[in-house]
């Protein structure tokens, strides 16, 4: 684009008035903004002691859990829809014939590599029986890579920890048993 292009709109810088040339408005404006923020309430929280306030914990995408049904069995039917939907390929399921009469398969092992997971929530969207859900747990730490691969027991225990604070979708809300 050349400088005489008619589509260029040339704008003049506004002229400073007398007070602007005295530096005083700048001075007062800058100083008052700084001092105001110096005493304003702080936006950050002291994390381990104080939990951040989440907008709606029910739709927060944190650590996964595997839901249990009313009989205390794992709800998952090992249909592999979540691991197919997963863009990060972090879900690993080994299916086995179900010991229970109401379904054909159940997951013999079910592990999620939380380090590979991108917390997109597609597994939750894909699940036909509302077995896998993302909770509002956000401090996910571990001492090794192996520790961060959550197996079935761990995922079920996350359900036990969070089931009261974040109830599973009931039938009334359109969920499955």
């Amino acid at each position: 684009m050349k400088s005489d292009d008619p589509s260029i709109k040339w704008i003049e810088e506004p002229k400073l008035g007398l007070s602007g040339r005295m530096y005083l408005p700048l001075f007062v404006q800058g100083l008052s903004t700084t001092v105001k923020h110096l005493f304003s309430p702080k936006l950050t929280v002291s994390f381990p002691e104080q939990r951040p306030k989440l907008g709606n914990p029910l739709i927060y995408r944190g650590v996964h859990r595997l839901n249990k049904d009313q009989a205390g069995r794992v709800k998952c039917v090992a249909c592999f829809l979540c691991s197919t939907a997963c863009p990060a390929h972090c879900i690993d399921i080994v299916a086995a014939p179900s010991p229970w009469p109401d379904r054909e398969k159940y997951p013999e092992s079910f592990s999620i590599d939380e380090l590979r997971c991108i917390f997109c929530g597609m597994c939750e969207e894909a699940c036909p029986v509302d077995a896998i859900e993302l909770t509002s747990l956000l401090d996910l730490t571990g001492r090794s890579r192996e520790e961060m691969v959550f197996d079935k027991e761990k995922l079920l225990s996350v359900y036990d920890i969070t089931k009261d604070a974040e109830p599973m979708k009931s039938i009334a809300m359109g969920g499955t048993v």
């Binding site: 400088s3 007398l18 040339r21 702080k42």
Partner: protein, 411 residues
């Protein structure tokens, strides 16, 4: 070793120890201020080691120091090894040595021990008649630390930072000196303790008599200490740290402490020259005959004033953006130097003819000086604002003729 020598050694130990501790805690304060201004909480975790007591993060300086000590001290291959090692030593030595002429209190009452019958001046070199000259000479040596570091680093960012820094420090030394000269003319001495003593005797701080000198001096001192908005030498965003880019570990720590010492020096000078030093009306008294409570109160008052000035420096850091280099230079040469000269002229006239003017009007000399100097400050400030070509315009302009590359290439 005489008792006087021992007393001096104790003063040196107290001063250097106090200064280094103060610098460490000012780093913490600076981080707190930065955090508070940005609506954060700042360092509040480190307390007493090996316990869970946090004490609002007051252990942070210790942790910072330990971190610097245990960090790898990497010397790049391409540096000039001797100068690279010398530079931080130069800047640190100069920064500490300045304090030999700066009083950190008034006097202590005589201890009554054999050999210490006189009041003890809280000043390492009380007999130094040319205190201000000494301080200025040593503060100029700080430029050597900067430029040696930048040169020895053999790195274009460091070198640019060092060049900027030397240009800036040399330019702002002139308004700094001019701002100071008014005070020296007024008090007729170069000794800082005598300057405080005179302000305490009359009860009128120099800032009331020398407003223009005060403004010039504060702005120039901010630039000398390379604090924002004058921190072009280090400008993290442009120069990745400027002259100390290549430094790490203890050498970097020496540079950072020296920078904070420059700020402390600037605050000391502002407080001592213009804000009455240890004097406060109705609290500290004025004479040299003191009791212990008064002596300690004077130290506290001085420290409180210095802390207030440092807090101002820190708030200023987060209030205004950095100057462009041409704006920095034109501020120094086209605004600050003329203002300083006006101040010098007015002070000289008032010192010489102040009594005659006040007698002809029939008012007291003090009030004539105050009214005249404030009105001239106002006039000079407005004049500088109207006349100074500060806003050098570098916006793009439409070319008068359309640009034709062929004509440029044609022989």
């Amino acid at each position: 070793m005489t008792a006087a020598t021992i007393v001096t050694l104790i003063k040196i130990f107290l001063l250097v120890g106090g200064l280094l501790t103060a610098a460490a805690y000012l780093v913490l304060l600076e981080r707190w201020m930065a955090a508070w201004v940005q609506d954060r909480r700042g360092p509040n975790r480190v307390g007493i080691p090996l316990t869970n007591i946090k004490m609002f993060g007051l252990g942070q300086p210790l942790a910072d120091g330990l971190k610097f000590i245990f960090k790898e001290e990497f010397t790049p291959n391409h540096v000039d090894k001797a100068l690279f090692r010398l530079a931080p030593i130069v800047i640190m030595t100069a920064a500490v040595a300045i304090f030999a002429a700066i009083p950190f209190g008034s006097v202590l009452p005589p201890l009554g021990i054999n050999g210490v019958q006189d009041p003890i001046p809280l000043l390492v070199a009380p007999g130094l008649e040319v205190g201000m000259v000494y301080i200025f000479a040593l503060s100029s040596i700080a430029v050597y630390g900067v430029i040696l570091g930048g040169w020895a680093s053999n790195n274009k960012y460091s070198f640019l930072g060092a060049l900027r820094s030397s240009a800036q420090l040399i330019s702002y030394e002139i308004p700094l000196g001019l701002g100071l000269l008014g005070v020296v003319l007024l008090s007729g001495t170069l000794k800082l303790d005598s300057i405080i003593g005179q302000q305490a005797q009359t009860g009128v701080w120099n800032v009331f008599l020398q407003p223009l000198g005060f403004f010039v001096f504060v702005i120039a001192a901010t630039a000398e200490a390379a604090r924002l908005p004058f921190d072009l030498p280090e400008a993290e965003q442009e120069l990745i740290g400027g002259y100390h880019t290549e430094y790490s570990g203890m050498k970097l720590l020496l540079y950072l402490i020296a920078e904070f010492l420059h700020m402390i020096t600037a605050s000391f000078l502002i407080v001592i020259l213009f804000l009455g030093g240890w004097h406060f009306w109705g609290l500290t008294g004025a004479g040299n005959e003191v009791t212990w409570p008064i002596a300690i109160l004077r130290i506290v008052v001085l420290a409180a004033k210095i802390l207030a000035v440092i807090l101002l420096f820190m708030i200023v850091r987060w209030s205004w953006p950095r100057f462009r280099f041409d704006q920095l230079m034109s501020l120094a040469w086209k605004v600050m130097v003329p203002l300083g000269l006006v101040n010098l002229l007015v002070t000289a006239v008032l010192v010489e003819y102040g009594d005659a003017i006040s007698q002809s009007i029939g008012a007291s000399t003090l009030w004539v000086t105050i009214v005249l100097s404030w009105s001239i400050t106002l006039a000079a400030w407005i004049g500088a604002g109207l006349l100074a070509p500060l806003s050098t315009d570098n916006t793009p302009r439409p070319l008068a003729l359309p640009f034709d590359p062929e004509s440029e290439l044609a022989p």
